[in-house]
């Protein structure tokens, strides 16, 4: 970080903003005490997955798109499977679907805990990172690592391995785990559920900057469950559409400074996806335990302070462990473990709740199952404009902070979103230029 002072300009630069997934940058310009411009830039080279997919078999999309992200591969696998299943007219039998939901619960646990405990919590506790936190608070970091491992183990057992799982396919799973395989997960998931409750209580005691924004929330919704792997796309502004109607309402536009595309919702503008959106739209569908914990720590029905997203992530971790246990308790191994997929020409859409928010896919395939066209809208690109809006709001009310403090506050603001920038298109460069 460097700082230069002049009669009309003050600049703060941070070359690398750590503890986010991927590479990106930020520029804030302040003139005469007013925030003049904020740009949240993503400069990871554009990712050519969509082009890479063209000409491949429809059954390959889950394994190819899983490589987009090492933290949330299930999101890509599940969304692409949903889309291909839509084209092929496949309805998943209940136990097959529940296996997909179970492996997704594993991903929520590992991803949320990595971000909340290892990457985000140090911000609030005054540490430079998890290493420094671990030197002072070994039990907290050990608990986080064990929680994360519990999630990864679910992915190992159901998905075949924890990173880029290989057991999932269009129509279901290559092999269904036995009941004993899943029962073996129960003791650690019970520990994880209880540990997540304690973690929620801890993070709720953090001191949060006093900042709220009236977000337009967008999430999946499905009656009777906290939507993860299926649902309609709904918003706090009254939108309620099938995932196939997404492009009629959401627009992606290229912004020069960024390799990711900015998304807007027609009639609304920028919007927010992820934990705050899911919680605002679907908290009634959380399990009784997760609802009780949320109430105990004072979350209310809607959380508009993005810094409190760490608390919502913790509540969702409780939920994911609870839900995984519920699924395991009623599990009957499906036979067969998948519905055979016969390709037919057409277009299919899939959307699921990645830990960071909705991950939307569209594929056009021909009668031989060859992918003709693909479009993937990851959550971080959808949140990008809203992150900028948050930065404007946060900087505006934080101008009395020193350069270092302001830079830290901006980094924290971006980390609120657990931005997976490598999905959206690696390090953030932070530049604050103020008079």
């Amino acid at each position: 970080m460097s700082s230069s002072d002049g009669p009309s300009t003050r600049e703060i630069r941070t070359d690398y903003l750590a503890r986010v997934e991927g590479e990106g940058g930020m520029y804030v310009r302040v003139r005469d005490g007013e925030v003049d411009e904020v740009q949240f830039k993503i400069f990871e080279p554009p990712r050519f997955f969509e082009a890479l997919l063209r000409g491949r078999q429809f059954t390959e999309a889950p394994d190819i798109t899983a490589r987009i992200c090492g933290i949330c591969p299930i999101a890509y696998i599940a969304s692409s499977c949903n889309a291909m299943e839509a084209v092929c007219g496949i309805e998943l039998p209940e136990q097959v679907r529940l296996l997909r939901r179970l492996v997704y619960c594993g991903e929520w646990i590992e991803s949320h805990v990595l971000h909340a405990a290892m990457l985000h919590a140090p911000d609030f506790l005054g540490y430079a990172g998890a290493v420094e936190l671990a030197r002072d608070n070994k039990p907290l970091v050990e608990t986080a690592l064990r929680l994360k491992k519990a999630g990864n183990t679910v992915m190992d057992v159901v998905g075949g391995r924890a990173v880029h799982p290989v057991n999932l396919r269009v129509g279901g799973s290559y092999r269904a785990p036995s009941r004993a395989d899943l029962q073996a997960l129960v003791p650690e998931l019970e520990w994880a559920r209880d540990a997540a409750v304690e973690f929620t209580r801890l993070v709720a005691t953090f001191e949060f900057p006093d900042y709220e924004q009236d977000y337009a929330f967008v999430a999946l919704r499905h009656p009777g469950e906290y939507a993860i792997e299926r649902g309609r796309i709904v918003s706090s502004a009254g939108l309620d559409i099938d995932v196939s109607e997404y492009e009629q309402h959401f627009t992606e536009s290229h912004v020069e400074r960024s390799n990711a595309l900015h998304s807007t919702l027609a009639g609304v503008g920028n919007y927010l996806v992820g934990p705050l959106a899911r919680y605002a739209l679907n908290s009634a569908e959380l399990s009784p335990l997760a609802r009780d914990v949320a109430a105990e720590v004072g979350l209310g029905d809607v959380v508009r302070n993005p810094f409190r997203s760490i608390v919502v992530r913790a509540v969702e971790t409780v939920y994911a462990a609870d839900e995984a246990l519920r699924i395991i308790a009623q599990y009957e191994p499906p036979e067969p473990s998948f519905v055979p997929a016969v390709p037919r020409a057409g277009t299919g859409h899939g959307c699921t709740e990645a830990p960071r928010g909705i991950c939307w896919h569209r594929y056009q395939i021909d009668g031989e199952g060859v992918i003709l066209d693909a479009k993937i809208v990851p959550p971080t690109s959808q949140n990008q404009k809203t992150i900028e809006e948050d930065l404007v709001g946060v900087v505006r009310q934080s101008l009395d902070l020193t350069d270092d403090e302001l830079a830290h506050r901006c980094e924290l603001t971006i980390r609120n979103y657990d931005p997976c920038i490598s999905c959206a298109t690696h390090f953030l460069r932070l530049e604050v230029d103020r008079a």
Binding site: E21, F49, L52, I71, V131, L145
Partner: protein
Amino acid sequence: MRAAACLGSRYRGDDAVGPLVADRLRAAGATVLDCDDEPTRLLDAWAGLDLVVIVDAISSGAPAGTVHRFDPGGGALPRDLGLASTHAFSVPEALELGRALGRAPRRVLVVGVEGAAFGMGDPVTPAVDAALDGVAAEVLATLNEEG
């Protein structure tokens, strides 16, 4: 016990150095730790080991194919040579975290190959490819050394 930890992505040009060296080491019967894209997994995998050789692509501006070797001793791994990689939790951080938690190997060595192209779908640069057999042989010899 000694093992190698090979990092990188087969799908990102010269970032495939780690996986390609891992293939050669496994074929020769060496122990290669599996951390995929997630360095925190190393904390379980390498705790208590005598030596871990980290193999990765390096981006320092040297000519492609240049082989770098570091022995950080008890110090930190360099974060500015590409080892910091693209991930939320880097290998240098994983080593520091492992040391803070008492879950690090007793000794770490780094062998890196300078890459030139790291784009999605890029082929491995010929100069990098040409270095891989030699690097694998060197790592294997280190893993098989006495004591």
